[in-house]
Amino acid sequence: MLGSIVGVLFDGLAYGMLLFLLSVGLSVTLGMMNFVNLAHCSFAMVGGYAAVWLTGRAGWPFLAALPAAFIAGAGVSLVLERMLYRRLYRASDLDQCLFTIGIAFMSVAAAAYFFGTVQQSIDTPRWLEGTVAAFGMRFSAYRLFLIVASLAVAALLVWALERTRFGARVRAAVDNQRMARGLGIDVDRAFMITFALGGGLAGLGGALAVAMIGLDPGFAFTYLVYVLIVVAVGGLGSIGGSLAAAALLGISDMAGKYYFPWLGAFLIYLVMVGLLMWRPAGLFGKR
């Protein structure tokens, strides 16, 4: 019994960390510009397919494909932001929603066209396969790697936001965009960089997701819901909030699937609706 609880906690934490990587960029950019980007998971898909292609066809090692996935996600989001998104910052919620749903639809079709609708797989190095023994239990090495890597990314992000000048600009823009502009902060530029970073992190998350939850063209919508839940529950623009919400969601989803498999995702949606009704700005949100 105890073993199964620890196992569920561990798997849920690994899953939650994946969700954190996928959603943290959206959380910060949404907090900054109030731009509802429903195509965020498409950036993750770009990273995932880039990693699959690089390791499978081009023969790159897995660890080299991860930064490449980050760059692919960041590059695509940067191009889209410069060309299209920036025109819609002042548009209504509805226009932003429709526009980004349109982009997501196109990305799904494009992925199906180039890679087919099959589930993709990725070769991980030998040392990430198998299990690690600790405390009399065995843990999947890959999931352990996922947790460590995501926590490292989270620590790096918190450091960058709290300790650097750029981070101060971003925090100012999230707290009060008008005031930040008034103080001479180039919010558009800060936003562009944050958006690209967020896209890159999503790309990294997408690449790491392949070996754990798989990758197919439906990814852009299947995980969009989870990402939005993390953002909405964690509160806009809060990295700690996203981390906590992602871990909570990952663990409760795993527990739900393990202990109440017949309920499916019902429990998760119920928790989300309940939490939003209780605190519309998210658990850790300020607004």
């Binding site: 919620d93 429709l98 349109g102 079709a109 066209y113 939005l228 839940i229 909405a232 309920l263 939003l276």
Partner: protein
């Protein structure tokens, strides 16, 4: 006071183009008898889009989960005919009532929120019902859909293979709902809704409680969406899980935006364009169909913000 009633009287006058449009909806009976099933689907989709127009186009509430009420109507009609009675008109009325109750209850929550929380709540509510229907497969049939729906003849007319009864039925219901909708938006409630859409803070300040108005509109929209869902069940004799899916919510949003939101005829025109195009390109792999839908959405948002009807009326005004 007299001027106010004169204003409303002027609003409700029928335009010649409207009369011509409704007469033209009878054309498929003689001109395209082999397409009556499609025409019936279009009428149902148009009704669904019309119901969304009421809350989105007029009230300004963005909903990503409007299929919830469509699905509730569809499943109510299906379960009624399977277990109790197959009489379509009673089934339609009960389905409308059930969807209305669900809509009324959820409206209390939904009208409190705006922006991301609103989008997430409507999405979450839609997904919740989808998962509920999916996991209670003993009642709903789960992913296989509800089997064994049998609809008795409508006022003595059987639902034939060509869809003659189906189209006449759907069209009549659509027209009646359209009349109701037209009445609503030209009433003080409709004016209040438009006021809320334009400035949600100002309406309460001038003495119109925005939440009460939105709740009313939301309930009416849920009733109409439920009717559309029940019509789909009754004309096709099946209920699939897809009636509750996110895809259906997204589709109806696309349809409304394509036609032009907040224009009453936008949803109907959008449904005609969308459904005919989908029928014509049915050979295309559905995966790729969504590529063009995506492109269309992007193009409409960037170049045609008020949909086809909005673009047409802007062009017409420019000419004059």
């Amino acid at each position: 006071m007299a001027s106010a009633s004169a204003f409303f009287a002027g609003q409700v006058r029928w335009h010649a183009a409207e009369v011509a449009f409704w007469l033209a909806t009878l054309l498929p009976f003689v001109a395209a008898p082999s397409y009556l099933s499609l025409a019936s689907q279009i009428a149902i989709t148009a009704l669904f889009a019309l119901s969304l127009d009421l809350i989105l186009g007029y009230g300004g509430l963005v909903s990503l989960g409007h299929a919830a009420y469509f699905g509730v109507g569809a499943y109510t009609a299906g379960l009624l005919s399977k277990h109790w009675l197959g009489e379509p008109l009673t089934g339609l009325a009960i389905s409308a009532l059930v969807a209305g109750v669900v809509g009324y209850l959820s409206s209390h929550v939904i009208v409190r929120f705006r922006h991301l929380a609103l989008i997430m709540l409507t999405l979450g509510f839609g997904l919740l019902l989808f998962e509920a229907a999916n996991s209670t497969s003993a009642i709903t049939g789960g992913a296989d859909g509800l089997q064994g729906v049998e609809i008795s003849p409508l006022l003595g007319f059987k639902f034939d293979l060509y869809g003659r009864t189906a189209y006449a039925y759907s069209l009549a219901v659509l027209f009646l709902c359209f009349l109701a909708c037209r009445r609503v938006i030209h009433s003080p409630l409709g004016l209040a809704l438009r006021g809320i859409r334009e400035n949600a803070q100002r309406m309460p300040a001038i003495g119109a409680s925005s939440r009460a108005h939105l709740r009313k509109a939301y309930t009416i929209a849920a009733v109409m969406a439920g009717i559309a869902g029940a019509l789909l069940t009754q004309t096709t004799s099946t209920v699939s899980l897809e009636t509750l899916s996110f895809g259906r919510s997204a589709d109806v949003l696309v349809i409304l935006i394509l036609g032009g939101a907040g224009r009453l005829y936008g949803g109907i025109l959008g449904a005609i364009l969308y459904m005919v195009a989908r029928d014509q390109f049915s050979g295309v792999n559905p995966q790729y169909w969504y590529f063009w839908i995506g492109l269309l959405l992007v193009a409409v948002v960037m170049f045609l913000p008020n949909g086809v009807l909005g673009g047409a009326s802007a062009l017409y005004k420019k000419r004059q």
